[in-house]
C-alpha cells in the first residue's frame, strides 16, 4: 500500500506543476495588468510612475521569474489583492467558502442518498420499469441546464406554488433566492432560517451529481453482479440479500467511492450557475462577479483554491481506494 501511495504521490507532482503554470498564465494573460488598470482610473499618473509601479509589482521581469515569485507568495498564503473588494483575496475567499459549503454539503448528501439506492435497485432489476425510469432520469439530469432548472424551480416553488389552496402543502413554498431572511437574530435562528433558503438551490445543484452517481452506481453494480464470484456465492446457497449486501455491494462500492471523491471538487466548480440563479453569496457567485468586474486576481485565487481541491480529492480517492481494496492494501 505504501508503494502504491508513494507512486501516486509522485505522479501528482507534474500534475500540480502543470496546473499551477496554467493558472498563473491565466492571470498573466489577462487584458491589462494591475498597473494599466490603475492608469485607466487615474489621469495624474506619469510615465515615470508607470515604470516605477511596474517595477514595484515585478511586472517588468520575465514570465518564469514572475511564476516562481507567484508560487512562493501563494505558498505563503498571499493570493494577491482584490481591486474591487479592497481586501486580500485569501480573506475574501475564506469568507465565501463557508457560504458555499452551506450549499454544497446538503447538495452532495441529497445526491448520494438518492443515487446509491436507486442505482443499486436499477442494476438488480435491469430492464424493469424502475430501471428504465432511473436511466431516463439520469439522461434528464445530465442534459438539463442547471440554471434553467433553477429558474423553473423558483417559478414553481416561490412564485406560482399552485398548491397554495391546499393548507396541507402550504409549507411547500420556498424563497426565490438569497441566503437569509432580513432581520433574523444572529446565531442559531440564522441557521434555522437558512435551511429554508438552502432547499431549492441544493436540490438544483444536486441534480447533475445525482444523475451521474446513479449512472455510476448502476454500472458498477451491473459489472459486479456479472462476476464469477457472485455465481460462486449463489452456489453456496446463501440468500440473495446476503449475496448482494456481502458479496456484490462491497465490490461495487470500491470504484464508486473513488468516483464520488473525484467528483466533489466539481460541486464547487459547477456552483457559479446555481449560485447566480439563487443569489447565493458563495465562491461561485464571487467568481462571476469578479470576472464581470475585471477583478481577475480574485478569479485566479478561486481557481487556485478549486485546483487545490482537485488535487486533495485525487489523493483522498487514492487513499480510500487503497484502504478498501485488499489487493492494494496488502501489496
Amino acid at each position: 500500500m505504501t508503494s502504491y501511495l508513494t507512486r501516486r504521490l509522485l505522479q501528482m507532482v507534474p500534475l500540480v506543476i502543470g496546473i499551477s503554470i496554467i493558472i498563473f498564465l491565466l492571470l498573466a494573460a489577462a487584458p491589462g495588468d494591475p498597473v494599466d488598470l490603475l492608469l485607466f482610473g487615474n489621469p495624474h499618473i506619469t510615465a515615470d510612475d508607470v515604470v516605477r509601479l511596474k517595477h514595484l509589482y515585478g511586472l517588468d521581469q520575465p514570465l518564469h521569474i514572475r511564476y516562481v515569485k507567484w508560487v512562493w507568495a501563494a505558498l505563503h498564503g498571499d493570493l494577491g489583492y482584490s481591486r474591487t473588494y479592497k481586501v486580500p483575496v485569501l480573506s475574501l475567499l475564506w469568507e465565501r467558502v463557508g457560504n458555499s459549503l452551506w450549499l454544497q454539503v446538503p447538495a452532495f448528501l441529497i445526491a448520494l442518498a438518492v443515487a446509491v439506492p436507486v442505482g443499486i435497485t436499477s442494476a438488480l432489476r435491469q430492464y424493469s420499469a424502475l430501471d428504465y425510469g432511473a436511466t431516463f432520469f439520469t439522461f434528464f439530469g445530465l442534459s438539463i441546464p442547471a440554471f434553467w432548472f433553477g429558474i423553473m424551480m423558483i417559478y414553481i416553488f416561490a412564485v406560482a406554488h399552485p398548491w397554495t389552496a391546499l393548507p396541507a402543502l402550504a409549507w411547500l413554498k420556498f424563497p426565490a433566492g438569497g441566503f437569509n431572511s432580513p432581520g433574523v437574530a444572529a446565531g442559531l435562528p440564522t441557521y434555522v432560517d437558512r435551511v429554508h433558503y438552502v432547499v431549492l438551490p441544493a436540490l438544483v445543484l444536486s441534480l447533475l451529481f445525482m444523475a451521474s452517481y446513479t449512472r455510476y452506481t448502476r454500472s458498477s453494480m451491473l459489472e459486479v453482479i456479472r462476476q464469477d464470484y457472485i455465481r460462486t456465492a449463489r452456489a453456496k446457497g446463501i440468500s440473495e440479500l446476503t449475496v448482494i449486501n456481502r458479496h456484490a455491494l462491497r465490490n461495487a462500492l470500491i470504484p464508486l467511492v473513488t468516483i464520488v471523491a473525484l467528483s466533489i471538487p466539481g460541486l464547487f466548480s459547477g456552483a457559479p450557475l446555481t449560485e447566480t440563479v439563487f443569489g447565493w453569496p458563495g465562491i461561485g457567485r464571487l467568481l462571476v462577479d469578479a470576472v464581470l468586474a475585471g477583478d481577475f486576481a480574485v478569479a485566479q485565487g478561486i481557481i487556485l483554491f478549486l485546483a487545490g481541491l482537485v488535487i486533495a480529492f485525487n489523493l483522498l480517492a487514492d487513499v480510500s481506494y487503497a484502504l478498501l481494496d485488499p489487493r492494494i492494501r496488502y501489496d
Binding site: Y229, R231, A233, R234, A235, G237, R250, I254
Partner: protein, 346 residues
C-alpha cells in the same frame, strides 16, 4: 448397482435473446448413481456448463429459462422446489466448482470468510467453529500453513491454490454430489494432474458422486465411470467409460477421440473435426452434427435422429445404427469406430 442419486430427464434450458432463442440444452437425460463419476464431454457451447447451472438452478433468468424436464435428486424434482428450499440444497447437498479459479473467489473477502460462510449457513455452526472447520478443509486440500492462510485474501494465492480453496469451499458441507465444471482447464498442465488427483481422492474419501464436465477425454478416461457426449445442447452418445473408448458409436465421439493430443506421440496424427459447431439459434432440421459429419446420409439432414440402443447401457443418437443405414454404411461406420478407439487415450 448403487441407487440412483440424480436423474435428469429431458432437460431443456433456453435463452431468449434479441437474436433469437438459444437452445443451450435441448433434451438432456442421464442418471447419476451414488459414488459414481459421470463425465459430460463436449466442445465449448455444447451446453455442458448450462446444464450444470440448470441443476443448481443458477441460470440467469431472464434471459435464460428451464423450459422443460425434471431434475430428480433423491426422488424430488429440484425444478419444483421453492427458491428457499433450493438454497438448502445448493452448496450443502449439491456443490459446484468452476472453471476460473482466478475470478471465482470474492476479492474483498478473506478465504476463511468465504469458506465459513457456507458452513455457518448449512451446518449451523458458530463463527469460531466454522472458521476451525474452514482451516481443516484447507488442510484437507493440502494448502500449507492452512491455519494462517484462512486470513489471507484470494489475490495472495496462485491459480492452483485458489482452485484448492474452491474445492475446500465446495466440500465443506459434505455434499452428496459435486459438480466440477472444467475444474482444471484454466490451470497449468503440471497442476492439472494434482488437482484432478485431489478431487478424486476426496471424492472417494467422502463417498460423493461427481459430475465432471470437461472437453478433455484424457481426464474422462482417468476418472469417470459413465460418459455423456454432448453436441449442440443434446446428448449424442451415452455409455460406460469403457464402451466410450473401446467401442464408440457416434461419429462426433470418433472425431473427439481423433483430436486428443497424446504425450510422446507425434503431433501430425491429430485430426481436428472439420467445421464449426452450429449456432444454437434456428437449428436446421435434421441431426445438428450432419454438416460436419463425414458419414452423413440423406436422412441425416431431414430428420432428427432419436436415441438408438447400441449395447448394454449404451445409446447413440445417430442414424448409422438404424434401419436407414445400408449394410455398407454400417460396415464403414464400424471400421471408423474401431479406428477411433485405437486412437483414443486408452
Amino acid at each position: 448397482m448403487a441407487e440412483v442419486l440424480l436423474s435428469v430427464r429431458n432437460l431443456k434450458t433456453y435463452f431468449y435473446t434479441d437474436e433469437g432463442v438459444v437452445k443451450a440444452v435441448d433434451g438432456l437425460s442421464y442418471e447419476l448413481r451414488k459414488g459414481e463419476t459421470l463425465g459430460i464431454v463436449g466442445e465449448s457451447g455444447s451446453g455442458k456448463s448450462v446444464h450444470a447451472l440448470s441443476i443448481m438452478r443458477l441460470i440467469p433468468q431472464p434471459p435464460g429459462k428451464i423450459v422443460e424436464g425434471q431434475i430428480l435428486f433423491n426422488g424430488t424434482d429440484l425444478l419444483k422446489l421453492s427458491e428457499e428450499e433450493m438454497r438448502r440444497i445448493r452448496g450443502n447437498r449439491i456443490a459446484m466448482i468452476f472453471q476460473e479459479p482466478m475470478t471465482s473467489l470474492n476479492p474483498v473477502l478473506t478465504i476463511g470468510e468465504q469458506i465459513a460462510e457456507a458452513i455457518m449457513l448449512h451446518q449451523g455452526l458458530g463463527k469460531r467453529d466454522a472458521w476451525d472447520r474452514a482451516a481443516e478443509m484447507l488442510e484437507k486440500v493440502q494448502i500449507p500453513l492452512a491455519r494462517q492462510r484462512v486470513r489471507d485474501y484470494p489475490h495472495q494465492f496462485s491459480g492452483g491454490m485458489r482452485q484448492r480453496v474452491m474445492i475446500a469451499m465446495a466440500l465443506s458441507c459434505n455434499p452428496s454430489i459435486l459438480i466440477a465444471d472444467e475444474p482444471t482447464t484454466a490451470l497449468d498442465v503440471t497442476i492439472q494432474a494434482q488437482i484432478l488427483e485431489l478431487i478424486t481422492e476426496l471424492q472417494r474419501e467422502l463417498n460423493m458422486a461427481m459430475i465432471l464436465i470437461t472437453h478433455n477425454l484424457g481426464v474422462v478416461a482417468e476418472t469417470c465411470d459413465d460418459v455423456v457426449v454432448m453436441y449442440a445442447g443434446r446428448p449424442v452418445e451415452r455409455a460406460t467409460v469403457d464402451a466410450t473408448f473401446t467401442d464408440p458409436k457416434h461419429p462426433y465421439t470418433w472425431g473427439l477421440l481423433h483430436s486428443v493430443p497424446k504425450l510422446y506421440e507425434r503431433k501430425e496424427r491429430l485430426i481436428p473435426i472439420e467445421g464449426q459447431p452450429p449456432s444454437l439459434i434456428d437449428l436446421p432440421p435434421g441431426c445438428s452434427f450432419a454438416p460436419r459429419c463425414p458419414f452423413a446420409m440423406e436422412i441425416c439432414v431431414k430428420a432428427d435422429p432419436p436415441e438408438y440402443p447400441v449395447g448394454a447401457n449404451h445409446a447413440a443418437r445417430c442414424f448409422l445404427h438404424s434401419e436407414y443405414a445400408t449394410e455398407d454404411e454400417k460396415r464403414a461406420a464400424a471400421a471408423a469406430g474401431l479406428a477411433a478407439a485405437a486412437y483414443g487415450p486408452r
